[in-house]
């Protein structure tokens, strides 16, 4: 049974139609590349799935149930995590504090509930080790490189019991070596049965890690096919409109 099902999703912002009649389904443990040129509707689609705003038309089913998200927390509550392109980190807090933001580990201390700094730092350090990222749990995010920030953002999704992780250009601003690490991480998520939607412009990334590719153009879905049946040339043609549909 599909984990995520979109039926006839459409979205208008005033007179602008950002998405029209997009249907797709994603299975558990499936890695799907979502591609399209700027303005094709990728971000809008991701934001609808993440609960930033509701669709104008159509319905969402997640994990066998109708989903009506009105805010990101609703989507998170059912197991949808997003790694945002701008990473959404608080610069003035430590890596561990960012990983645990909104779901801090606490311990009871008499009548008080206090933050468990030691446990959070240890758990965060362990997540960074799993990600093979040289990131210290108690360093401030302000002092970190692009790759380290990426690790912090991804560690946050590992912390939650996510069923679906959406990544918005996770490899856009990091080094070659770290791209390989992020792709490895995506495979590890898949091995745990977690579905991943990878939004990317980088053809090699999509073709090395995804099972399937979905192409949007001008708010419509123009292709949805297995990676094995496609090629970078075909996808490029679909994105630019040189090829109408596949």
């Amino acid at each position: 049974m599909a984990l995520l099902e979109l039926q006839g999703i459409g979205k208008e912002f005033g007179a602008i139609r950002a998405l029209s009649n997009v249907s797709l389904s994603i299975d558990p443990g499936e890695v799907v590349g979502l591609m399209g040129d700027n303005g094709a509707g990728k971000s809008t689609l991701v934001k609808i799935i993440a609960g930033n705003f509701p669709p104008s038309h159509g319905g969402i089913r997640f994990d066998g149930r109708e989903a009506h998200f009105t805010k990101p927390v609703d989507a998170r509550a059912v197991g949808i995590e997003v790694v945002y392109q701008d990473l959404a980190l608080a610069d003035n807090l430590s890596a561990a504090a960012n990983v645990f933001l909104g779901r801090e580990m606490r311990r009871r201390f008499g009548p008080f509930t206090v933050l468990d700094h030691t446990a959070m730092n240890r758990r965060a350090a362990q997540l960074f080790r799993e990600l093979k990222s040289e990131t210290r749990a108690d360093d401030l995010v302000r002092q970190m490189s692009g790759g380290q920030r990426q690790a912090v953002a991804i560690a946050r999704t590992r912390l939650a019991d996510a069923k679906l992780v959406m990544m918005d250009e996770p490899t856009a601003a990091i080094s070659v070596r770290q791209v390989a690490e992020v792709l490895d991480l995506i495979r590890r998520l898949r091995d745990h049965g977690i579905a991943v939607i990878l939004i990317s412009h980088r053809m090699p990334d999509v073709f090395s890690v995804c099972d399937r590719v979905i192409v949007l153009r001008r708010g419509r879905k123009v292709a949805d096919k297995a990676i094995a049946d496609s090629s970078p040339e075909e996808v490029t043609a679909l994105i630019t409109g040189a090829k109408e549909a596949a």
Binding site: L115, A125, R136, D139
Partner: protein
Amino acid sequence: MSELSSLPRRPAETSDFANVGRAAWWQRGFFASQTAYVGLALVVVIVAMTLANPTFLSAGNVANVAKNFSFIAIATLGITLVIITGGIDLSVGAVMCLAAMVTSMTMQGLDQAGMALLPGLSMLLAVVAGLAAAAVVGLVNGVLIARVGLSPFVTTLGMLSIVRGLSYVVSNGRGSYPAGSDADLFYGLTSGDLFGIPAPFIYLVLLAGLMGFVLHHTAWGRYVFAVGGNEKAAELTGVPVARMKIAVYTLSALAAGFNGIVMSGWLGSAPANLADGYELNIIAAAVIGGANLAGGVGGPVGAVIGCVLIEVIRNGLVLANVNAYWQKALVGCIIILAVLVDKFRTRRAG
């Protein structure tokens, strides 16, 4: 109790990092903060003043300084919370006056109505009324800023004028004084000594300790920093941003109100111009102590150090027989100097 002691400990195992260096201990954490630099400057100033005039460190003068800076320090703790979230509260001076006035008028009223049933009861009711008035102002500030989305600067500037105006209307510009059977108790608890220590100073230490603990050891405190660091990220991760903002503005007003009530005990009255213009001293103290007006940085230790520095300089100028009008100019120089030092330091580090 401070930024220093409450920093998360480093994990015991130091994993090896191939290419990520770590700054020396004195270049990171508390030691690299503006608060630490200004604290050091404060020590230097105190030593210099003692050398110039030995009466500076006499017991009487130290108690005097401790009492004087406590009169703005509690309000500074409150406004520091607001500043950490990236906001500003210009209404604190007016709120100090309002709370003091409501308290003393309530005490007078209860006394005239013959309501002094139990010793201390009318004082307690009066203080609660004063704090409630302050809390309402803070709540209105918070709701207008967090829910309606008005700018903190404009909202609290308007509130400054409204609250100050109301104080004049209510009092007809005359002011009132705490009276009745509880008056002596009130004076004792506000301007007297407890265990040989000025009472306002004790309140300050307790509140500063509480604030340091809450900021660094509770989720609530962490959210205060998160809102100031990246409001959008905080919202996305489920931090109740609007509720946090309403809470900090309410707490800022409560702290100011409490400070105003204590101050009226020291003055022996609550005139309508009480704490007039204090908002600027209070913001200056917070900023000197290291609270960043851009949000995300600040703490109780910095707030207290900022207040002490301002008061020490004022006191020192008095002892040195320097024209008191120089104080304001000097405080202004220190604000700019403190921010300049921080600027150069971060440029070097970044």
